[in-house]
Structures are given as C-alpha cells and as structure tokens.
C-alpha cells in the first residue's frame, strides 16, 4: 500500500511497487489528463509535479511516491500554471493537444524556477517535451506571454 498526496488529497493505492505513477493515475485512479506518449521518459507527455518538480510519471515508480505530493494537470493551480494556461488559450497553442498537458506542467515548473525565462532557458526546459504537431513556435511565445502575465 502506497500513500501519497494527489492534488491536495490523500490517496492510497494497493499496486505493485514498480508500477509507474502514470498507470496508477490513468488506469487505477481513472485520471486521464496525464498522457501516455512513449513510456520511456522520451516525450514528456506524462509530466506531473512531484514535490513541485516536473517529472516523467512513466518512469516514476509508485513506491518512490510514498509520502510525496503529486500534482497533475487536473489539480495544478498555482500562479504560474494559471498564467501558462491563460497564455495557451490566448495564443491558441494546442493543435491535436495530446502533448499539451505535459507541456503545460513543464512550462509552469519553468516559470516557478525562472519567472522571466530567456529563449535559451525555454529551450533547455522544454527540449524534453515533444510536440508532433510542432506547436513549438507558439509554445515559446506563450511562455514569454505567461511571464508577462505573471509580472503584471
């Protein structure tokens, strides 16, 4: 039995210790906001916050989540995430949208670390998140826009 905090609520799951957090979220808890893209930490679609840090939930064993705080796209609501989500809508970032939960989780973590990121900061933080629709030009603009929203 693993106990952790998910989006502010205590959750207990009885699964194999090496089940990835991704599949606990999606298949055990039926929370589908966190997406499956590759399963090998190569695309970022499954990004969640673990104690505030962006991690790939497909490569995070549930046993390592014991006692931790997990935030998913369904629950993220800090100032950075709100600004990111507002900028995402304003600049119409998503196309198919499948990567965007992960992009938003990654980008909001970046803004908490670095409230005014440069293009290089954005490259470094977002390189791990694939978008097959290549919405990258808008992702970049929207992160800058979100930084402005946060500052205002």
């Amino acid at each position: 039995m693993v106990t952790f905090t998910l989006n502010g609520e205590t959750r207990q799951v009885d699964v194999e210790p090496d089940m990835p957090l991704l599949w606990v979220l999606r298949d055990e808890l039926k929370m589908t906001g966190t997406k499956f893209g590759c399963g090998v930490a190569a695309c970022g679609a499954c990004t969640v916050h673990l104690n505030g840090e962006p991690v790939r939930s497909c490569q995070t064993w549930i046993e390592d989540v014991e006692g931790a705080e997990v935030t998913t796209i369904e629950g993220v609501d800090n100032k950075a995430a709100q600004a990111i989500q507002a900028a995402w809508v304003e600049l119409q970032v998503p196309q198919c949208g499948y990567c965007q939960s992960g992009q938003i989780m990654q980008a909001s973590a970046l803004l908490i670390e670095t409230p005014k990121p440069s293009d290089d900061d954005i490259d470094a933080a977002m390189e791990s998140n694939l978008c097959r629709c290549a919405s990258y030009a808008r992702i970049r603009k929207a992160i800058h826009r979100a930084a402005d929203i946060m500052e205002a």
């Binding site: 999606r26 906001g33 499956f36 998503p94 977002m126 390189e127 290549a134």
Partner: protein
C-alpha cells in the same frame, strides 16, 4: 484475416467521380444543409431542434455535428464557424460533436464516403455547412414569425438572438417550435461582404479543454466502467504468423484476465495497461515466417536502384525531352533517396471495442468512418445497423488513422469476438499500441528513389526534363486502387511532379512500383513530401546552372500558374529576398502546390559550429482561397512545415531482415523545440473557394532548407535524412 477484406470490397464504394472531384465550387447546392434524405427536422423529446448538422437545445446550446475527424487541424472550429456565420449565432453558444458513422448523411462530398483526408474538410463542407446554418436560421425565423404574428422579413437575427419590434427570443426559446416546421427548399447564403465570422481569427472550440488536460477527449482516455486493456504481440516481420506460444507465465501475473490468439498475434487482456504490457513481455512465442516480408531496407535499396536504369510505366510523356536535352547548354543529373517514415502521432494508436454477440461499438479517432464501420460489421458478421463508431478527438494523425483496410478496427473486432467466445461475457476492451508497437506498426510513408536529368539553354529556359520514380504505390492492392492507379502508375507517387505547372514542354516521367510486403500509407502531404523536394531542389540547381536568381528563374517558368507565382512573389518580398541576408544567414526558397493550395517558403538557415543546420526563420506565402480562419491557417502552416522539417532532419525507419530497427523516440527522433524556426505566414486575400491547409505547408520546407544549405556549404543533399550528412 482476408475474408473481411473481400466483404469490405463488396461494401458501398465511393464513386470514382466523387473521389477525384477536386473543385469545391462544384460541390454542394443539391442538398439544403445536407437534409436529404432526411428532409425534416426532428424535435427531440427534450424539445431540441435536431437536423443532421445542427442541433439546438432549449438551453440555447447550438451543437454543430462534425462529419470530420479533428486530429488537430482545426476542422471542428472551421465547421462551427460556417454554421455560426449563416445562423448568426453567438460563437460562445456553439459546441461541436462528432457525427455517427452514416455515409448517407455525413459523406465527404469529394470522396462519396465518410472520411477526412487530402485536406478536403473545409473544401467539401464550405457550401454544405453554411446551408445547414442558413436553413436552421430560416426555420427559427419562421417559428418566431408565427409566435409573434409578424412577417418573417421583419425579424432580425444577431449573435444568437431573434428580434422584431419589442419581441426578442433566444434560439433555444424557439428551438422546439422551429423543429416542427418544414425545412426550406432553398436558402440564400450571405455574400462575402456580409460575413462577420468567416475571415476572422476564430478561437478554436477545443483549445480551452486542451489547455486543461483534455480529460477524456482522446480514444486513449476511454475508461469505461469494467473496462479491460489489450496489448497484442505481433510478429516482428510483417506477414509472419503465430506457430505456437506458451502463456503459462503471463497468465500467472497479477491483473491478467485472458490470453487470446487472433490472426494478428497473441493478445494479453488485463485490468491495467502496464500489467498487460508486462504480461506480454512474459509470453514465449514461436513465429512462422514463411509468408513474412524478410527484406531489409538495404536489399530494397539495391532492387530499387537497379530499377532506376529500367524504363517504367509512363505517367506523362510530352514533347521530345531526349532531343531537347541534347540542345541544352547545361545538364544536371541527380539521384535522390527518401526513407520510410513513421507518422508517430503523439497519441499511440488505440481503439476500444464492446461486442456482445449481437451489437458492437467502437471508440477511436476514426478518420474514415465508413470503412471502419464496414470493416467492424464484416469481421463480426453483423448488419452495419448493429455497429456504432464513436469518433474521439485524434491525438494527431498525419494520415495514420486512415487506412484502406481499417486494420485497427479489424484487430479490435477480432479481440472482442475472441474475448466473448473465451469468457462468455461482454466487456469493453481497449486495444493499446505502445510507442514501440506504433513505430513498428508499418503503414509508413513509402521509401522512394527518384532520378532526374534536366537541362537549360543559353537563355535560361529548361529544355527537357526526364524523371523516373521508384517506390511502393500507396493505393496499389487496396480498396482505393481504382481511384488513383492508372496505367500502372500510382498518382500518389508522382503527384506534384507529373502535374507540375512549371513550363516544361518536354517532360517525361515514368514509375516502378515494386511489390513489398510492408504496408505503406499517406504521410502528411503524401507524394508531395518527396516530389516537391526533387522538383524544387532541381529547379534550384537549374537556376544555378543558368546563372539566374532562383526566384526569377522559377517565375520565368510559372507564366501559366499565376497563383503559384503570386505566393512566391509574396514570400520573396516579405523575406526581403532582394536584400542581402544577415551575417551568417543563408536563404533558400521553394514553392509548391498541393491539395489545391499554393505555398511558398523562404528558409533562413545558419550553420552551427558543429556543422549542423539551424533553421532560424521561415517566411511563407499562402493562397488557400477564402481564408476561413486566418489564425488556424497560420497554425497549420507552422505545424505543417515543422512536420516537414522534422521529416528531413532526423526521421528514418529502416528494416533489417524485415524487422524494424527503431523502437521509440530515442531512436526515431521528431523535431524538438530547439530546432523549430520562427515562422511568418502571409495569406493572399482571395475570393476563390477554400482549399486545403492541413498538408500544404509540409512539402516546400525540405527543399527550401536544402537549397539554403547548398548556398551555405555548396553541398546538394539528395538523400534523406540530413543526419546521413552530419547536418543534423
């Protein structure tokens, strides 16, 4: 396995005429809002107004029923815009739902079956969905006129409100009354100067939800009560079948419900995706490879290269290229090689099936609903009326969800059937492809070789052009063969070359389509992904041979295609082509027509210290007829050229002894943010019927970048991807 295919072939076929008809202007106008053959609107029990394309609830929600799959290209918003425009609805009251599979009502008017592809969604719907909106508006007005006792002509409609004198009502308040009225036989559409939504940037209907987790939107997110997950172990060589297997270990594993054999392989059914994958790894399977495709890409390259020396089937032969090449002052000869490519949609393929022996339902990002419907029914030997297709938002497609054999539905149907037989109960089962399954799943953009010999004379005119193409025909051997294969030439291998509008009076192009077991498929922009590369890099080489500017040289050969010349001129002007490029920047240009849209791209590249190329900026000129939603057009050009750039830089599927060498994103590497250029899109104002936008941004980017690299390094890149040459 094959039985279902012959049933599909017996199923209603799209008309040849319908499939080939490309002019949007000729489409529609026969059915008012697609109401025939159901010529009356129906009132739902709850008092809703329900026509095939438009529903209005008493709560004042207008639902536009999308006959098309939206897999990111913005079609749902486009269709909503067309209806809202003629209905004079408030965009805020509009939602979109996907239509059920019903080819009689929801056929793509260019295909004759219900399906999305070839960048036709807006083109084939432009008349139909506007008429649907106009018809609904007329009925709402008629209902209000009756209720208020005023002539219909006195009623005005704006932003979702009907009013006349002191009376006003929402659509919702008139929905029930309108539903009981006759559908008008004719409607008058607005003239372009009356448009308030078409031509404006319309925020997409799906973006808010997709910025909040897109919870439950995709097929992958289908999580029904009591649902199970299936993963299939398939033969590593395409065409191999199970000889024997041992599932003892797998069956012992936690959560495993069953292990089933179907023609496609061995299926593990479990209560959780991860558990299903783990148990699949524990299977021991012996494969019978007798019928498997065992050739690797090296063997294919050898065979294809030999064919480059052999005359093929003629796609076009005009003038006398041989004699005129002899008169050239400079001749360029080049061989090109394009690899197999995977679509690699971010959402791996998946489908959920529920089959109880008498009825079947499927949930998936269905792209050709009619085929999916027919195949599901054929495999399960059900009447099509007993089969439902629930279309989910697609997490990308780029062509991958549209297969002539509906193999995903077929596999799911067989799993549903095998599970019912084994367990004696019906449960929803989601068949999931892992990323490895997806990349190994074939249906690739086919490997192609090209050989071109072309020459210019002293005046800089192209004298003759000889062109040979070798590659698997996408449509050959499929239910679509008769639509695009003529005299042994599959048009999808030569489109963009045999029909070039460059002034080439002496042109010969022939093809070989070798038979290879590996299934191939359209990959965003299909044949144009390689033909545009060849045409536009060759045009650049010929311009150089003629000592001319690449833009001027192209324009001199585009006298018969003013729209193509127009976008080229626009892009060149906006990119400052006549001015010297900034320090360290090298420019290349390409222009290409595909899916009836015209796109020119000027790429500005910089060579990094390590010899790799960085595309810094791309300036685009686009003519796609009426620009229904300019911001979405820009997004599609940005994404389309990003997809094309991805394809030329690092993407390649190779096979060794019939097995695919790439497994996951670490070894099949799509574009990342670090390689994405800035993109500037300029749209030509046009009153022509709207044409495609999902694909036309893709073809020009490869040659534009290659031409810029040639400027920078003197190197002409004729085999892809760029990684082969240390450029990426």
């Amino acid at each position: 396995m094959i039985a279902y295919l012959s049933n599909v072939l017996d199923a209603p076929r799209p008309s040849r005429r319908g499939f080939l008809k490309l002019s949007a202007g000729a489409v529609g106008g026969l059915l008012i809002g697609g109401m025939a053959p159901r010529s009356v609107a129906a009132a739902d029990e709850d008092g809703s107004f329900a026509m095939p394309f438009v529903h209005i609830t008493p709560e004042n929600v207008v639902t536009v029923v999308s006959k098309h799959l939206d897999k990111g290209q913005g079609t749902a918003t486009g269709l909503a815009t067309l209806v809202a425009e003629e209905l004079d609805a408030d965009p805020a009251q509009i939602t979109v739902e996907f239509a059920p599979a019903d080819a009689e009502v929801y056929a793509n008017t260019m295909f004759g079956l219900q399906g999305t592809g070839g960048s036709t969604a807006m083109a084939n719907s432009f008349q139909q969905y506007r008429e649907a909106g106009a018809a609904a508006r007329a009925m709402l007005i008629a209902a209000a006129a009756e209720a208020w006792g005023v002539p219909p002509g006195e009623i005005t409609v704006a932003a979702g409100t009907l009013s006349a004198g002191g009376n006003s009502a929402t659509f919702g308040e008139m929905a029930k009354a309108a539903a009981g009225l006759a559908v008008p036989a004719e409607v008058t559409l607005k003239t372009p100067d009356q448009w308030v939504l078409i031509g404006k940037d319309m925020p997409r209907v799906d973006v808010p939800a997709k910025s909040a987790g897109a919870v439950g939107m995709y097929g992958m997110d289908v999580q029904p009560e009591g649902g199970l997950v299936a993963v299939t172990a398939r033969c590593p060589c395409y065409g191999g079948v199970v000889a024997s297997f041992d599932d003892a270990a797998a069956r012992q594993m936690r959560g495993v419900v069953d292990v089933l054999q179907i023609p496609q392989g061995v299926v593990v059914i479990a209560d959780n995706t991860w558990r299903a994958i783990q148990a699949r790894d524990a299977l021991e399977i012996e494969w019978d490879m007798a019928e498997a495709e065992a050739r690797g890409t090296d063997a294919l390259m050898e065979e294809y290269t030999a064919l480059l020396d052999q005359p093929g089937n003629t796609a076009i032969d005009r003038g006398d290229s041989e004699a005129n090449l002899a008169n050239a002052t400079a001749v360029v000869e080049a061989d090109y090689a394009f690899p197999y490519l995977a679509h690699a949609t971010m959402e791996p393929l998946n489908i959920t099936v529920l089959y109880d022996g008498e009825t079947a339902e499927f949930w998936t990002g269905s792209q050709i609903q009619t085929l999916d419907h027919n195949v599901g029914a054929a495999v399960l030997e059900l009447d099509p009326s007993k089969v439902q297709i629930h279309t989910k938002w697609g997490g990308g497609s780029f062509g991958r969800r549209a297969t002539a054999d509906s193999h995903l539905v077929a596999e799911a149907a067989m799993i549903g059937s095998a599970y019912l037989a084994s367990q004696g109960e019906a449960r929803p089962i989601k068949l999931v492809y892992t990323r490895e399954d997806d990349l190994h799943g074939r249906y690739y953009r086919p490997l192609h070789l090209h050989r071109v010999k072309a020459g210019v004379d002293a005046e800089g005119r192209i004298t003759g052009w000889q062109h040979r193409v070798v590659g698997q025909g996408i449509m050959i051997g499929t239910a679509f063969e008769s639509f695009t294969v003529k005299d042994g030439v599959d048009h999808s291998s030569v489109e963009g070359a045999s029909d070039t509008t460059y002034d080439l009076p002496h042109l010969v192009l022939d093809t070989h389509h070798p038979s290879v077991g590996t299934p191939v498929l359209w990959w965003r922009a299909v044949g144009h992904t390689h033909t545009a590369y060849v045409m536009e890099t060759m045009m650049d080489e010929l311009a150089e041979a003629a000592g001319q500017d690449p833009v001027a040289f192209r324009l001199a050969h585009l006298k018969n295609d003013p729209r193509l010349a127009g976008v080229l001129t626009l892009a060149a002007e906006k990119a400052g082509w006549d001015q010297p490029a900034a320090e360290g920047i090298h420019r290349g240009v390409a222009v290409h027509k595909s899916f009836n849209s015209y796109v020119a791209e000027v790429a500005e590249v910089r060579m990094r210290d390590d010899g790799t190329v960085k595309v810094e900026r791309v300036v685009c000129g686009v003519d796609c007829g009426v620009a229904i939603n300019p911001d979405n057009i820009k997004a599609q050009i940005e994404g389309g050229l990003g997809y094309g750039l991805s394809g030329i830089l690092r993407e390649e599927i190779t096979l060794t002894g019939g097995e695919v060498d790439q497994f996951n994103y670490p070894d099949y590497t799509p574009l990342r943010i670090t390689d994405m250029p800035e993109v500037e899109v300029h749209i030509v104002a046009s009153a022509e019927a709207p044409t495609g936008i999902g694909e036309p941004g893709t073809p020009p980017i490869g040659p534009a970048v290659a031409n810029a690299v040639a400027k920078a390094t003197g190197q002409r890149i004729r085999s892809l991807p760029f990684t082969k040459h240390g450029l990426a």
